[in-house]
């Protein structure tokens, strides 16, 4: 893996790359506006939103938060170990990162299954419209993130890989973005109504 010296203090080279950070801001603004809209509509019909919120499993949400945070921790260490040229440790950490991402998806699937069994679908009420739209949109990001991390992993095990450190950093930034979005989604969907 080739490495270029990056000056992070340069405005055009934030960790992960400027293009990825533009994507991160677009995503954060999109989710942010949707969450603000949800709180706005929640204010119009507080009882409906409160009753609907009580049907969500806060324990599942909390465990999923811990899964994503732990995954982010191992992703940060993957990048750190790669910078230290410790490839074998980086590979292990990347696998653990992906494992926690998969655990998040498994728990989310169990949660979705219980909601579907209870007949709580997108058309049930406005709260569940927001719940399904926002969480499914987030899940899609996690799946895309896992695909990107898988390609990074194969780039790491390949002998003559053309993958560069910036590619790994950009992938890591995308993965952390999933954490950032979830950190905003979790309290609003599961707790504040």
């Amino acid at each position: 893996m080739s490495k270029m010296q990056i000056d992070y203090k340069n405005i055009y080279y934030p960790p992960g790359g400027i293009l990825l950070w533009i994507i991160i801001y677009v995503e954060l603004i999109t989710f942010g506006i949707a969450l603000i809209a949800m709180v706005y509509y929640g204010k119009q019909d507080p009882q409906l939103f409160h009753d609907a919120k009580l049907q969500l499993n806060v324990t599942f949400g909390t465990i999923n938060t811990v899964f994503l945070l732990t995954s982010g921790f191992f992703m940060a260490n993957t990048v750190h170990e790669l910078k230290e040229k410790n490839k074998s440790k980086a590979k292990k950490y990347l696998l653990i990162t992906m494992l926690f991402g998969i655990l998040f998806l498994i728990l989310k699937t169990i949660e979705y299954d219980s909601k579907l069994d209870a007949g709580l679908v997108m058309s049930t009420n406005l709260f569940f419209t927001f719940y399904w739209m926002l969480t499914l949109f987030h899940v899609i990001h996690v799946i895309v993130g896992l695909i990107i991390l898988t390609s990074v992993f194969f780039g790491m095990i390949k002998e003559n890989s053309t993958m560069q450190m910036e590619d790994v950093e950009a992938s890591a930034a995308f993965w952390h973005m999933c954490d950032l979005i979830w950190v905003l989604l979790f309290p609003i969907l599961y707790l504040i109504f």
Partner: protein
């Protein structure tokens, strides 16, 4: 590594703290939940994403985003 472990521990403690606060009642519960969530957001972006090493523009823009987002939510709520 040591910094990352500390960050992870703080983030998990904050997550559990948020879950506990949400079970209580009071005027400032929502504000408390949102502020603690903002701290988690800072922890991830500054320590896991290494934003602390970036140009001040990126740090300030994250702060502005969070300030606007949390303020609007608190005004609406």
């Amino acid at each position: 590594m040591k910094n990352s472990v500390l960050t992870l521990v703080v983030l998990i403690v904050l997550t559990i703290g948020i879950a506990i606060i949400s079970k209580t009642t009071g005027v400032y519960v929502v504000a408390g939940i949102l502020v603690l969530s903002a701290l988690k957001f800072f922890g991830i972006s500054f320590f896991f994403m290494d934003l602390r090493k970036a140009h001040p523009f990126w740090k300030i823009s994250v702060c502005i985003y969070l300030f606007v987002f949390i303020s609007v939510l608190l005004i609406l709520k």
